[in-house]
Each structure stands twice: as structure tokens, then as C-alpha cells.
Amino acid sequence: MSDVAIVGVGCVGFKSIMPELSYKELMFEAAVKAYEDAGGIDPRKDVDAFVTCAEDYWEGFSIFDEFVPDQLGAVLGHLFTVSGDGLLGLANAYMLIKTGHFDVVVVEAHSKASDILTFYDIVAFALDPIMVRPLGGNPYYIAGMEMHRYLAETGTTLEQCAEVVVKNKRNALANPYAAYGADITVDQVLDSETWFYPLKKLEVSPLSDGCIVMVLASERMAKKLTDKPVWVEGVGWATETPNLETRDWCRAIYTEIAADMAYKDAGITCPQREIDFVELSDLFAYKELQHLEALRLCRYGEAGMLLEDGVTTRDGDLPVNVSGGCLGMGYALEASGMQRLLEAVLQLRGEAEGRQIPDAEVGLAHTWRGIPTATGAVAVLSNIKE
């Protein structure tokens, strides 16, 4: 079906802070691991294009693109920046290979969030400069507003949202790449400070540092580079609207559109039956439930119940965020989608060690670009080539 595969992955992090390395050195280490994993390719010769995913204000540079080629082995190579999440980078790498002109494409995304001293001010700087920004306040109030509406419309409960945090932080304990694994209770979540009513402190993913590099290849090259290709069966991405005034405050429309596109691409007609596990954006706890519904894996209002019934735990019928998600691994800015993708690749290769899902064949990775965006992306992956 598909003719694009992920043939190499490299990850450094994730930790709450990595002051020992500059962003360049962080990226170099992840790149070296990925190239080694991809059969020892030489980026100076064997890579046809490089995609790096970054936003200027996350980095503190205008035109961050400038500072990327050396540490990826891309000097005088064909590199460009996607101003977006790593999964959007994956989508572009996928299309490049599909043109038939490119055989090996590298995708990089990273977070050096600990370099940022004024994180919320920078998020606020993304708000509409005329209508919204002048109102001031911590911009995460937008998540509080969305959560409130989502709970009201779907009947999802505060306890169900808190349960997401408990599950994901526990999952993270088994993931060496996770920064925030913990064994906590629903009461601890509910008793944590209210930050943006009804959103609680422990329901907000804390920031983390790290970098992920992946190597994608055409079918022809994939077979030469690895015994364990993970096939990209379909990708989808979409933006609903940047306008807070006109967006849907209950449903994640961007995820619905992206999922439909990816399913069509992958030939999936019944996602509930055909997908074995899901890695999705849980930047805020309620987002895991909303996104699961938007991915058409259940109806709106049902995700909380599936969670209560244990369906989405590691040994359930539809494990969700076995990696620990953003709540467990840490919110890694534009590398968040790459965290989800990394877990999907490791699961499909059977390399997830203590958290391995038995017999996993088809996985889904999803991301959302966070406040204030309504942009998301989906990739469907498989270890079986039909």
C-alpha cells in the first residue's frame, strides 16, 4: 500500500532541563543516533532532503533555519524549515518521497524550552494582536474555556479528566525517554491548584527538553537500510481557524479533518477496528479525551467512559499514550508530535521493552500545536506491508 517507511530514529531527552548541551549539540546527538539506526547512513552523501521543525520565538532567533545545517550533516544539503510540529515535517517528507525524486529524507524536531524565560509571554505573543492580545492575562485561559465547554457539551467529568493524568504519568514510569513519570491519584490531581477553571495545575503538561531525528526512505531504499521498516500508511493535517471568535469550542475540528485525510490515505474505513494503539496530544488532560473522539475512535462524550472502563490503559483494547503522552514525557513544543511518532515506531518494531503492546500492527500518532492554534496532524503507521 504505502511506499514510504521510517527506517531510523534517534532521541535525546526528554528531561525537564538539559543545560549541559546547546541546542546544536542536542540535535547532533539525536542525529548521530538516527543515522546509526538507519543502517549507518552518511548524511553528507546519503540524504536527499532534510526537514527541520521550529518556530523562531521558541528558539529566540529570527530565521532559526540558519543555525541548523551543521549539526544535521546538512551543509550544502537540501534542508528547509517547517514552522510547525514534527508531524507536519513528517507530512512534507512523506510528500517529497512520493514525488519520486527523493529517496531518503530526514526530519528533525526539538525543544529547548528551558532556554525560554518568559514562556507564557511568548504564547501570548501568538494571539491576535488587535482582538485578543490587548486583553492580557495568561493565554492558557483559552484551554480553560475550551475544557469548560467540552465538559458541558459532552458530559465528560472532572474525574475522567484527572484519570488521564494518572494513567499517563504512570505509563511514563516505564518509558526511559519520559521526564515526568509518577504514581499519583485522581484526588491528587483534583486537589492540585486550579489554574484556569476548570483546568487544574496537574492537568497541564510541563515543558521538557529533548530532540528527535527520524530517517524516512522510499520503499526501494527502506529495504536496503533496515530489517524493521515502519510504513507510513497515511498522513493528514489541517488548520481549523486561528480566530478564537469563530472556532468550535467543543470539538477538535482540525483533528477530525486530519484524521479523515489520513484514514483515506491509509485505506482505513473502520478506525476502531483497524487501529491497535494511539499516541495523541494530551497537552491538557481533557485534550486526550477530546482528541480520541475527534479521531473517530469513539463518539463525543464516550472517551471518558472508555478510560474508566480501562480500554485505553496499556493492557486495554485500545491503549492510548503508552509513552506517557505530553503529560508524562513533557510538552516538547514542536517535538511533541515526534514524541508520539517515536513511541509508535518503537511499538511497531517491538522495541518498547517494558511497555510493549503485544502484537501491535497498526498505530496512530497525532499532534496539536497548542494554544492558541487549531492545527493538528495525524499519521497512520504499520509494520506490515500489504
Binding site: 529570527s62 537540501h78 510547525g84
Partner: protein
């Protein structure tokens, strides 16, 4: 080409380029997009995907500016992505549009490039102070013009080029721009005017430089099937190329843009071009400074190293010369809203190849044209080859 998919440009749109425009960035993106759709005879509902090109967020003063601009670019509820390669963005964005369609993933793609530099107040130049290395360059107070002056000087020194020769580019392009309805700095000036203009950063003088601007440009891309339905004269994207050189520009010899040559070779190979000066009928190399047009002609392999000033003196690069260069008036004449300026060059080649450039039309029924942009720390080249 091995049964691979061909991609056409079927419509283009452009706003005025001005120091300050009243429109917001979203409104500019809308205006250019709407014009491109109208030109293609298409509706927004015919568009399956959208690609945004826009340079530093620090200009518009919005973090995640691509997200902010989405609805202006017609991207609501559509697959939408922003690509970004500094000053190279304007020509690079159509390349991203190309792979959206060439991959078979979409039949149509709207490519939108926007820049609203005037939002960076009181002067857009402030946005450039943060493009430099935080440890090695910013503490010295490095400015954009410094580094380009260093490159210009090295180029002049290596080939023993006189400022008079370089000034001819500014004279030519500002004059060409007199025929461009969107132009910001069209003028009839002389070489002496350039040489007598204010010295900013030797050897760069006031009239060697393009202005800062607001503006937007858009293109509609379509697969071969769709293109043939909507137009009788599609313009084909036959070659795409891009390349980045090392971050550490002080370790490179700045007299020659290797990255442009590598990008050009990539695009020419795809387009089957073996002898660029013979096979290319017109070119729009990136000219934010007058010397860059010469530098880039050489990088695009349109002449030998150090030969571009001579061709300019001989009139070869004039609009009615053998190899018209920047018949639009370029950035020096039309203006330089970074990403929109690069896309303006692609629009120009599109119009020229369709014979629709009006007073700017180059003679000789051109069939093949090239546009190129340049960016980052004097390290990025993006190249597109268009054919009728």
C-alpha cells in the same frame, strides 16, 4: 520524467508593495489569494491544500505567524503548512506547493506569501538584530548591512569589480520597475546618483539597497489534469532546487554563492537543462542589493564567475537584451516584502512566459524562465524553473 507528475501554475496574484500598507497581514494574504484564484478562474472550494510562506515573525509581531495568517490565506479547515527559509522563502514556498501536487497527494495547492514589515516599529531593521548567533555575533552589535557589505566587498575584491559596474544593476532595475504597477521605488536614476547616495556601510550605499515593504503574492498550482481543464496556457514547474550552506559564514569564502549553484544544479537536473545561458530565456535572481543580482547570476550558472558585471555593462541583461534579468524591476525597484518579494519574481516569470507582462514583456517569445531567492546568513538558495 519517469512518469512522475507534472505541476502547473494556473494563476497569480499580487498586491501593491509599499513602506506601510493599511491592510493587516491577513488582509494582504487574502487580496493576493483572491486575485490568484480569480486569475485561475477557480473558487476557494477548488483548493485542496494551502502553503504559506512568510519570513521572521518579528516583522509582523506575531509568534506562530503562519497560524495567525491561516484564514487570510484561505486555509480554514484545510491542510495548511508554513515553510520558512529566511529570505529564500518567497521562491521556496512554490517549491513546497509543487511537492504537495507532484506527490499525488493533492490536485490543487494555493501558495501564499505575505510580509508586513512595517509592523515592526519604529523600524523593521530591529527584527534583523536577532538573526545572528547569540554568542559570537550579537554582542558585537552586528547588523544585517554589515554582513552583506562584507560579502559585497569580498566579491568586488576577488574579481576587481568597480562600484560603477555594480551601480548599473540598481539603475536598470529601478528603471524596469517604472512599468510595474505595484512598484514602490521605481525611478529613472543614473550611475552617478547611486555613487553619490549616502554611504551606509561601505561599500553599500543607500541606492544599492532595496526598501523594506508590506505586500503579498499568491499562486495557484494544479496537477496536469486540472491545469488542462482550467487554462489553455499553463506554465509548468519543471525544476525545483534548494540548498543551505554552513551556519558559520565567517569560515566560508563569500565571493561566490555555492549554495545557489547547488540549488540551481538540482533544479536544472530535474528540468533537463544542460546549458543554462542557452536554454534559459529570462531570469529573476534575488536582488535585495544590486551586487546580489550579479552574484546570483553567477551562482545560477548564467555566466562565468566574475563575468556578470560585464554582461550588465554590455546591456545583455536589459529587458530587450539577450538574457533579460529582473525585467520586473526586482526588489530594488518593486520593493522587498521578503517572502512576497520572492514570490513576486515567480509571478513575473509566470506572466512573462504567458506573454501577459504588458509593458514589461520581454521580446522573443520566452519559453523557459528561472526565479531564485536567497536567505539566512548568506547561506540559502532556492530556485524554480518554469516552462511554457
Amino acid at each position: 520524467m519517469f512518469g512522475k507528475k507534472r505541476v502547473a501554475i494556473v494563476g497569480a496574484g499580487l498586491t501593491l508593495f509599499r513602506r506601510n500598507l493599511k491592510e493587516t497581514g491577513k488582509e494582504l494574504a487574502y487580496e493576493a489569494s483572491k486575485m490568484a484564484l480569480d486569475a485561475a478562474g477557480m473558487e476557494l472550494s477548488d483548493i485542496q491544500s494551502v502553503v504559506m510562506g512568510t519570513a521572521p515573525d518579528a516583522f509582523d509581531g506575531v509568534h506562530m505567524k503562519g497560524e495567525y495568517l491561516a484564514d487570510g490565506a484561505g486555509a480554514r479547515n484545510k491542510p495548511y503548512v508554513r515553510v520558512y527559509v529566511g529570505g529564500g522563502t518567497g521562491v521556496f514556498t512554490p517549491l513546497a506547493g509543487w511537492w504537495h501536487v507532484a506527490s499525488g497527494q493533492f490536485d490543487t495547492c494555493l501558495v501564499v506569501c505575505e510580509e508586513k514589515m512595517s509592523s515592526c516599529f519604529p523600524h523593521p531593521a530591529y527584527a534583523f538584530t536577532t538573526i545572528f548567533d547569540n554568542i559570537l555575533a550579537r554582542p558585537l552589535g552586528t547588523t544585517l548591512i554589515w554582513i552583506f557589505a562584507l560579502e559585497m566587498h569580498r566579491y568586488m575584491h576577488k574579481h576587481n569589480i568597480k562600484k560603477e559596474q555594480i551601480a548599473r544593476v540598481a539603475v536598470k532595475n529601478k528603471r524596469n520597475a517604472l512599468d510595474h504597477p505595484c512598484a514602490q521605488l521605481a525611478a529613472n536614476i543614473t550611475v552617478e546618483d547611486v555613487l553619490n547616495s549616502e554611504i551606509m556601510c561601505w561599500p553599500v550605499q543607500r541606492l544599492d539597497i532595496s526598501p523594506t515593504s508590506d505586500g503579498a503574492a499568491a499562486l495557484v498550482l494544479a496537477s496536469e489534469d486540472v491545469a488542462k481543464k482550467v487554462t489553455d496556457n499553463p506554465v509548468w514547474i519543471d525544476g525545483v532546487g534548494w540548498c543551505i550552506d554552513s551556519t558559520i559564514w565567517t569560515n566560508r569564502d563569500l565571493y561566490y554563492p555555492d549554495y545557489v549553484e547547488y540549488a540551481a544544479r538540482m533544479a536544472y537536473k530535474m528540468a533537463g537543462i544542460k546549458n543554462p545561458p542557452k536554454e534559459i530565456d529570462l531570469a529573476e535572481p534575488y536582488d535585495p542589493f544590486d551586487y546580489k543580482e550579479l552574484h546570483h547570476m553567477e551562482g545560477l550558472l548564467l555566466c562565468r564567475k566574475g563575468e556578470a558585471p560585464k554582461l550588465t555593462e554590455e546591456g545583455v541583461t536589459a529587458r530587450d537584451g539577450d538574457l533579460p534579468i529582473c525585467p520586473s524591476g526586482g526588489l530594488l525597484g518593486v520593493g522587498n516584502p521578503i517572502a512576497a518579494a520572492g514570490a513576486m519574481k515567480v509571478c513575473e516569470v509566470f506572466w512573462q512566459l504567458r506573454g501577459e507582462a504588458g509593458k514589461r514583456q520581454v521580446p522573443g517569445d520566452p519559453r523557459t524562465g528561472v526565479a531564485q531567492a536567497w536567505g539566512d546568513l548568506m547561506q540559502y538558495g532556492s530556485v524554480i524553473v518554469l516552462r511554457r
